[in-house]
Symmetry: C2
Subunit: 353 residues, 2 copies
């Protein structure tokens, strides 16, 4: 084993020389751009194989003005909802021969702006972006969207800024509330997240709208913090005195925290109080009791995002008329688990009065 060594990279010239033709011909054979004589093509491929030729993607990128890379910008890879999304995106893109430049923003809009700039400097062909904040990310996102195709994922960034694909948060929250109503819960409360992130806003608005049907006072039983386990724990102390029979949480982390604290307080979940989450992160199935939650269709989200990128025409020669942004909303799925089993222990809603 020796140290890595530039063994004089094999270039197109080397292949051309070995195959006895010009570099242009080799390029055409390998890229399949234009017809080439069968005999020549064979010789070229043989030479390329024999020499172990690998095209220099950097040179190719410079010349063809396309790097074959897309930037993936996200708030915090440690948010347990993102890894599976990243995985699906990476696979979808790699399947198209594109590589992924990853940027983690540390949940900070300023860092986000820096990362976006760095990716643009590297001439990514496109950007997949989960904005840190609906409002504070807007300028940087809009500027980037003016330069490359850009698709917003999971969270929005104000109207008309860019194409976006996300789960239908309102529909998800409605599923939760319907389920709770059907299993006899009548005093829900909501533990949400403050701020302008679209998931936070949409989920709390949907709760307020849907819960009112269950109980006119339900919308008022709302406390707001952030999307964390710690907040879930703290929130329980704020709302438990109201004796809700269901704690509807804005995501699974909050729900996990709430569950933990309720257990500490000796509350009976789900007998006395149901707890629900949102996202269906891996942790949700592991909680005790396992968490009823709303599953985001992660693979579809990724596929749809990749599709939007592919269909966004490369660039207009002239600024041109404003192109309408496309917004895709995917249907979520309710995953019923132990944390919301009817109080009587049965699982059929009809057995509950």
């Amino acid at each position: 084993m020796e140290g890595h060594t530039v063994v004089a990279e094999v270039t197109l010239r080397d292949v051309a020389r070995a195959a006895g033709c010009s570099v242009a011909t080799v390029s055409r054979v390998l890229a399949g751009t234009r017809p080439v004589g069968a005999e020549t093509a064979r010789a070229v491929r043989a030479a390329a194989d024999r020499l172990g030729y690998r095209p220099n993607e950097v040179a190719r990128a410079l010349r063809s003005r396309s790097t074959g890379t897309v930037g993936l910008v996200l708030p915090q890879i440690t948010n347990p909802f993102f890894p599976s999304l990243v995985r699906e995106l990476e696979h979808a893109l790699h399947a198209e021969g594109r590589a992924v430049l990853l940027a983690d923003c540390d949940d900070d809009p300023a860092t986000e702006a820096t990362r976006i700039a760095a990716l643009l400097d590297r001439r990514v062909d496109a950007l997949l972006l989960i904005p840190v904040d609906e409002r504070r990310s807007r300028d940087a996102v809009a500027a980037a969207a003016a330069r490359v195709p850009l698709v917003l994922l999971d969270r929005g960034c104000g109207p008309g800024v860019a194409d976006s694909v996300a789960v239908d948060n309102a529909a998800g929250m409605a599923l939760v509330l319907e389920h709770l109503a059907a299993t006899g819960r009548r005093r829900p409360c909501f533990v949400g997240a403050a701020g302008t992130a679209s998931a936070a806003v949409e989920r709390r608005v949907a709760y307020a709208a849907g819960a009112a049907a269950l109980d006119p006072a339900a919308p008022q039983r709302t406390v707001l913090g952030d999307f964390s386990v710690e907040w879930g724990r703290a929130a329980v102390d704020r709302i438990w005195s109201a004796r809700p029979d269901a704690v509807v949480c804005a995501n699974d982390l909050i729900a996990a925290g709430a569950l933990q604290r309720l257990r500490q307080l000796g509350a009976d979940v789900p007998g006395e109080v149901a707890v629900t989450g949102f996202d269906d992160v891996p942790l949700a199935g592991l909680a005790d009791p396992a968490l009823t939650t709303v599953r985001q269709p992660v693979a579809e989200l990724a596929a749809e995002a990749a599709r939007l990128l592919a269909h966004r025409p490369a660039a207009a020669p002239i600024p041109g008329p404003r192109r309408p942004v496309r917004t895709v909303r995917l249907a979520p799925e309710l995953v019923v688990r132990g944390s919301s089993a009817p109080a009587d222990g049965g699982s059929d809603p009809r057995t509950t009065p």
Copy 2:
């Protein structure tokens, strides 16, 4: 808002023209390669600012033979131990102005080989790699290490293949066993992972070595599966009949599954049996009871990996003598939580007989 548009990128030439000097001078000012007259420098910077010039990193890369990107190749981003590592690596690298090309291998050596090749084609300056498998990843890793600086992370890949940095698994397992012994446990069993991944091997070897001191029969109470929650659940059914007073797991996922199944079986954790994990993933603190585990020093791992990359000289002109590989082992830390509290409920080892 209009569609993204190539507004005729500003190039070095544009800046040179605006500043009234040559492209070389502009390059020198911006790169700081060589001294430039104060007056000229000012003019250049002003022009660059005014035009909103951003260097084309692709062109720069082609010319300077350095892309400023490093490839990060990992088995499965959805493994909950990796996101925090990815985060630290991304930050460490970005701080040096390098971008991260991410590749997820789907836990498959063949995919891994493909991804490595794709990254090399893109001329990454270096590779950070968590191999899928100690043995089956070896060829691809060795080949890659011959072309660019490469640092193995978290898992090894056979001796002498490449520089590596990982936690000291043996030391971590020893900490666990000492702790169990000190808190009065005498019949440990081990739920590990089969296969040749170095973490799997080192942890099970360390258990066998350390547990024998506790109980000569302990090493035999070992069952092997994979690093998953499902295996943790299944393993309990295989070992519970032996009535161990401690279930030592090879990672936190296994431990979470074991904990869940023990609870289902009505076992008292930690009263009747202690459970321990390894890695300290976010989930560990959330389990009930919270999981005693071995924390990997993630930030240090990342920093050390970045340091090794930086110090690996770029390339030798001639294959040269075999360069010794460097292996860094970082000390782990035991995190004691509820799942291993002494049977009497106290937390001081001395209160236990």
